[in-house]
Amino acid sequence: MEKKTKAAIIAIVLIVIAWAALAAAKPSKEVMMSKCSPEIQKQIEAEKNSTRKRITVTYNSLGFINYCAFSSSSKNADGASKEVYVGFAGKVYSAKEGPAKFVSQMVNYTYRMLGCGENVFHGAKLTILLTTLTVLIGFILSIFLALGKISKNVIISKLCGAYIFFFRGTPLLIQLFVVYFAIPGVFGFAWKDLFSAPDTEAVYMGAFVAALIAFSLNSAAYCAEIVRAAIQSIDKGQNEAARALGLTYGQTMRKVIIPQSVRRMIPPICNEFIMILKDASLVFAISLMDITTISKNIMTNELSYMVFIPALIIYLIITAFFTFIFNKIEKKLSVYE
């Protein structure tokens, strides 16, 4: 075990050093920009003050590799031009065809899918943020729901049961539509007005909050059943013993039952987390762009199926990372069993 960890640490340090070295050696933005052909340079100069620019300059810096593209808007045979360059380890390569083209596509697609250069409500950043917050809020809500559902108070129990029935029984997409479109329409407010940021930023925040509310309410219903099952799986005798020792209902729950049941919740909650990670693509319906939506966009715009390679890899990395964390938590909590 000791040796293994040491080897792992050494490997990670080596990777970090190699990464840093390559990142330091990659050509700068200015170098990449100056690589374009004289014709393109001339065109860029010509339309500097024009109200309709035709040349798109894309510069993506992704870790240790650079991507730079100059493309004209028209794809006509006569006016069409696209130049792509990849900067790596101090050199700039033209990425017209072959392996260089493949690398350039991968860099560009990964950059777009990770949502680099955009605000936090884009791409992988959005997916991770939305999923993590949803599971956190949903889990906290679900504890109250689960306790409510097994409560002896009939009204509370029925209310919580009805909540769970409603949110599990209707599709998430429709709940999202209701929260984002119907509720502001009926009550006469706009989600973006909840924020003081300029419109162009607030619209994303508003949509994100709406998505977070819909996802959390939905996830709470699913988690509530997980929590309830975990609580009820603890032997009845424990409850009786605790009560016999003079603990109140609240104390029994807080000090005896819930700590034991948490361990049993971890695997299904991890499942729920992964499900939400993929369900997060539903936010396309309210114009947020997550990994799935961006890869679909790229596919239709560029007619390239290569886009699915980075998409799948990004999803797998995120899932692997969070599964690892959940496993750690589970191990930690099972010390006493």
Partner: protein, 302 residues
């Protein structure tokens, strides 16, 4: 206990039979429009300028997915070009009329396949024979598909909320605003290009359906919607209290065409011939008048 079981069983049977009832009624409903189509087609030939018109057009080289039926792909949900009627199953709109007229000329029945606009051209030859779905002819699309002659001209239009104080005299005035578009449409391509080239610094919210963009505009989430002029006119005509036209970009007209498979020249020739005949009969003006109102008919194909 037994009674309860019985009750559950009966309830289950009831639900199942209700569902079954639903299914069958849907089927009959689906049949009606077809029947109507056939009837109207017959009526057409009866009034008929001529019954042997179909023979004018050479259909020998045309291979269709279903024999005797022109299968048309469209994203139904883009009024006034294509939308579902109140019954929720019958496609209606300008493009639907066009498909019906062309199918009639070619001596075929027609049927619509509803599909997302994203990647709609990829389904040609697999799921449908052609696409009549307000598709703008542009060089990228010409690389992947054959197009008929253009059947209508279209201009990019900016729609704002009624009473909005946004002054938009050119597309450049969209700078700093949040603009809604439908994903993958020419509006999306155009405004994205403006943004990517650094011409206009605006925020683009792309939706799967233009309907969502108009809902967002109504709710005040976005400042403007950029869409095809006929769509804009249709929405404004339908909800004059909610939306108003802010700007129409007459500088870059676009033309809509019928998209077909890259190798399907036989169908292209046949469709173009049918369209020529329709033009002579004044079909385009009449249909545009009906769907877009009189003022827009000038812009249709002359």
């Amino acid at each position: 206990m037994k009674k309860k079981l019985m009750a559950t069983f009966m309830a289950a049977t009831l639900v199942v039979s209700m569902l079954a009832g639903c299914g069958s009624s849907e089927k009959t409903e689906q049949k009606t429009p077809d029947a109507e189509v056939n009837e109207s087609a017959d009526a057409g030939t009866d009034n008929g300028v001529s019954g042997d018109k179909t023979s004018n057009i050479d259909m020998s080289g045309v291979k269709l997915i279903n024999d005797g039926v022109l299968t048309v792909g469209a994203e139904i949900g883009y009024p006034p070009f294509e939308d579902y009627a109140e019954d929720g199953t019958t496609p209606i709109g300008y493009d639907v009329d066009l498909a019906a007229a062309i199918a009639d000329k070619l001596g075929l029945d027609y049927t619509f396949v509803n599909t997302g606009f994203d990647g709609i051209l990829a389904g040609i030859g697999v799921n449908y024979d052609c696409v009549i779905s307000a598709v703008t002819i542009n060089p990228e699309r010409l690389e992947n598909a054959l197009f008929s002659k253009p059947y209508i001209q279209n201009y990019q239009s900016v729609v704002v909320k009624k009473g909005s104080d946004a002054k938009i005299n050119s597309l450049n005035d969209l700078a700093g605003l949040v603009v809604g578009v439908q994903k993958g449409t020419t509006s999306d391509i155009l405004i994205s290009d403006y943004k990517n080239t650094g011409t206009i610094d605006c925020t683009i919210l792309a939706n799967e359906q233009i309907l969502s963009s108009f809902s967002q505009l109504d709710n005040g989430e976005i400042n403007a919607v950029l869409c095809d002029s006929q769509v804009a006119d249709g929405y404004i005509a339908g909800h004059p209290d909610k939306y108003e036209l802010a700007y129409r970009d007459n500088s870059e007209p676009e033309e809509f065409g019928i998209a077909m498979g890259k190798e399907d020249t036989a169908l292209q020739t046949a469709v173009n011939q049918a369209m020529d005949e329709l033009k002579e009969e004044g079909f385009f003006e009449e249909t545009a008048n009906y769907w877009f109102g009189a003022q827009d008919s000038k812009k249709t194909q002359e």
